[in-house]
């Protein structure tokens, strides 16, 4: 099975080369037979990669320690779920997952691309094949997961304990679906550049694909943030760690792309900019892969460091980013610019959004790469952390969030800012009320905290106002309003939901950062501690034996006002003997949208234990907002406009009958 997987991977590489060259050549020479090679090649390539992945997963599930990667990252005593998720909990396996998802998206273009002009489809699949080919080569030459060991060891070295968590089952696949999903937008842009024209179907295609990738990336980042929050035991949800930034940059650029694609689709303006943004977004995904996979950065994600891998990925990076930007420089002047618009209009608002988001992306990029540049030039080692990002990213985000509610209410082409402001009066009043209530009634609220709460309410109420205005609230009879509300395009709901989610995330961040409290203390069994009105009694440490670990579990009773026990929180120091690693299992209790978070420290000589306790108000909204944003993206994807594929497919087929390969 392992050799089958290896062989399938080699075949997939060869096929990716075919997928790159034949359709590309066919598109240049107008040879329809050659162009038609793309789709079956993409489908077969996906099937082969899937076979290869299943082979590796089988080796992991069956604890086949004759495979080096399994030996290094698995153990026979691990629960089955972690044996399987361990498949991508290491460098080799995660690269295989990367190409699996890449070929999956290629296959989707092959399946759903029937309505595309033949040459565009051939070029898109060719570019997708080229990306695949380089990564297959990378895996086969530097990170082969199928290398055998002889003699086979009896026992494996265990998966990194931090990764032995359900988070590993969800976070990397979601994140890669997002990261790699942008490859489609990239391939479409490069294909458009190769053809030297942006065709109408290009515009129709880019937005849904961006939406899909963006939805998964949002989920992946939110999930990763929550995972780090509960697994690392530090109580933080975002560390501005270079690896987090590596996923955040494509998200920011992707968000900009999502918005500029709307302008392009609706008004056919900003075409060239959207195309460039699509290239940049995937370039940032590639850069993220380089930062995480090359080992230039130390982090929990850098499984192992091997300079040849770094150099190889750097070459891939140079090839695709350099190549696509060079192509852009050569061809962009041939593309025609689209319609004109007044600065105060929906288009104008979306341009402003893009200006802020791309600038924010740039600051994150500078902060992430600066330490590498400084080290290369001067051998000084520096670190750029939260203080830098708070000073640069924060001031860029706040004005953006302030203008968000205006955007969807402005008319296309030429908007009336005063009319929009009038419609937003209610939302503004609600925000103002939130500021006053926070400042007056919550102890220890700073002016900044109150304004932060107000900003979050402004976003939430702004999103609701958008729906209310569009369904004619206050201007038509309630029955008509309900009918209009139900008849609103799904994308309007999508926008409102996404902006609502943004507001919720903002509220969660403000709540946690400004109103959170914490205590570090040393506790004996039987002692009680109180934090922000929550009373806990330490019941003592109890040893517990797990399948492949042993732990000291600290039990804490949550006490009600009358002293009765209302619940229990447990936190543990878990030690994994194989890797000789200790992890902290944090104890979390969710109360409303807030959480009580508890983390055990070292045991003192007198039997006391260091306990760190946090009260995190509204913290769950941070990730809940992410889920609402995902729901917004999903809602937009269901929009009728994006499903017009069926009629236009017939039209396309009728227009170019010979161009339909399937």
């Amino acid at each position: 099975m392992v050799e089958t997987g290896h062989f399938a991977l080699v075949l997939a590489f060869a096929l990716a080369l075919v997928q790159t060259m034949v359709p590309l050549f066919g598109a240049r020479t107008g040879n329809h037979k050659m162009m038609a090679v793309g789709a079956p090649a993409a489908l077969t390539g996906f099937a082969l990669t899937a076979l290869s992945f299943v082979a590796l997963a089988t080796a992991y599930a069956g604890s086949d320690f004759s495979v080096e990667s399994v030996w290094e990252n698995s153990h026979s005593l691990q629960p089955l779920i972690y044996k399987i998720t361990g498949t991508w909990g290491n460098h080799e396996g995660s690269m295989l997952l990367w190409v699996l998802i890449l070929t999956f998206f290629g296959a989707l273009v092959a399946v759903f691309g029937g309505n595309l002009p033949a040459t565009l489809r051939a070029n898109v699949l060719a570019v997708q094949g080229a990306i695949g080919a380089t990564f297959f080569l990378f895996i086969l030459t530097t990170s082969n997961p199928f290398v055998r060991l002889n003699p086979a060891p009896i026992e494996g070295r265990d998966l990194n304990p931090i990764l032995q968590d359900l988070g590993l089952a969800i976070h990397p696949p979601l994140l890669y679906l997002g990261y790699v999903g942008f490859s489609i937008c990239f391939s479409f842009s490069v294909a458009a550049l190769i053809e030297g024209r942006i065709d109408a179907s290009w515009a129709r295609w880019v937005r849904p694909w961006t939406l899909v990738a963006w939805m998964f990336l949002t989920g992946g980042i939110a999930m990763g943030s929550y995972w780090a929050y509960y697994e690392l035991g530090w109580g933080g949800f975002w560390f501005w760690d270079p690896v987090e930034n590596a996923s955040f940059m494509p998200w920011l650029a992707g968000t900009a792309l999502l918005h500029s694609a709307i302008v392009m689709e609706k008004r056919s303006a900003l075409k060239i900019w959207t195309l460039l943004l699509a290239i940049l977004t995937f370039s940032l995904s590639l850069l993220g892969t380089f930062l995480v996979r090359s080992g230039v950065l130390t982090s929990v994600h850098a499984f192992a460091t091997d300079p040849t891998r770094g150099v190889f990925i750097l070459c891939i990076l140079t090839l695709f980013i350099g190549g696509s930007l060079a192509l852009f420089a050569l061809r962009a002047s041939r593309l025609t610019a689209g319609g004109l618009f007044h600065p105060i209009s929906r288009e104008g608002a979306l341009v402003l959004n893009n200006l802020f988001l791309t600038t924010a992306t740039a600051t994150v990029l500078v902060g992430t790469l600066y330490p590498l540049v400084v080290e290369a030039l001067s051998a000084d080692k520096i670190s750029v952390g939260a203080p830098f990002f708070n000073l640069t990213f924060g001031p860029l985000m706040v004005p953006l969030l302030v203008v968000v509610p205006f955007g969807p209410l402005l008319a296309w082409k030429r908007g009336d800012i005063f009319a929009v402001a009038q419609r937003l009066m209610a939302a503004f009043a609600a925000a103002l009320l939130a500021v006053l209530v926070t400042a007056l009634f919550i102890d220890g609220a700073s002016v900044l905290a109150a304004l932060g709460v107000g900003l979050a309410f402004w976003l939430i109420c702004g999103a609701l106002t958008d729906l209310a205005v569009k369904s004619g609230f206050g201007t038509v009879a309630p029955a008509t309003m309900l009918r209009r509300f139900a008849g609103l395009p799904r994308s309007v709901f999508g926008t409102a939901l996404a902006h609502l989610g943004l507001g919720l995330t903002t509220l969660g961040i403000v709540g946690t950062l400004c109103f959170g409290t914490e205590k570090i203390l040393s506790m004996q069994a039987g002692e009680t501690v109180e934090l922000s009105g929550h009373k806990l009694r330490f019941e003592g440490l109890y040893p517990v034996q797990g399948p492949n670990y042993s732990e000291d579990r600290g039990r804490f009773a949550l006490l009600g006002a009358d002293g009765s026990v209302t619940g229990e929180i447990t936190s543990a120091k878990r030690s994994y003997p194989v890797r000789q690693m200790t992890t902290t299992e944090s104890g979390i209790r969710t109360i409303g949208f807030s959480q009580l978070y508890l983390s055990l420290g070292d045991e003192g000589s007198d039997g006391s234990v260091v306990v760190r306790l946090w009260w995190k108000p509204l913290v769950t909204l941070i990730w809940g907002g992410g889920l609402v944003m995902m729901a917004g993206a999903a809602m937009s994807l269901l929009d009728r406009r994006l499903r017009v594929g069926a009629p236009s497919r017939r039209k396309a087929a009728a227009a170019v009958p010979s161009a339909s390969p399937q």
Partner: protein
Amino acid sequence: MTRKQKRVSVIAAGLAFLGVATGLTFYALGQKASYFYMPADLATASLQPGQRIRLGGLVEKGTVERSQGATVAFSVTDNQKDVKVTYTGILPDLFREGQGVITEGSFGPDGVFVADSVLAKHDETYMPKEVADGLKAKGVWQESKSD
């Protein structure tokens, strides 16, 4: 305004915006980036009082003292010099004597380094990359026996 004037003013506004962002970025890099030092580097470093730095090295064996409460004191060494560090909070799981560590904070008036965060991120050999590179540069790196 003519169309050309309009376009110029939009571009000017965009550039001004970018200019402000760039200025802010460079100001923040100058102010907020913290430099990494090993104990022996500190003699030649000119630090402002209270300047935030990252101090890295090995946790010297036998120096970890847990006092009452949650404050811990230990020495960070590069086998040439050592620096006393205090930290209040929970040490990371990977923190242990003789292993690499990075602490972030600033020097107090008594010459003790007061850390507000302690990192023991590591690769398989329990060594933060910065610390490993620093020890190699000082010629005191010993290839650790992995397994």
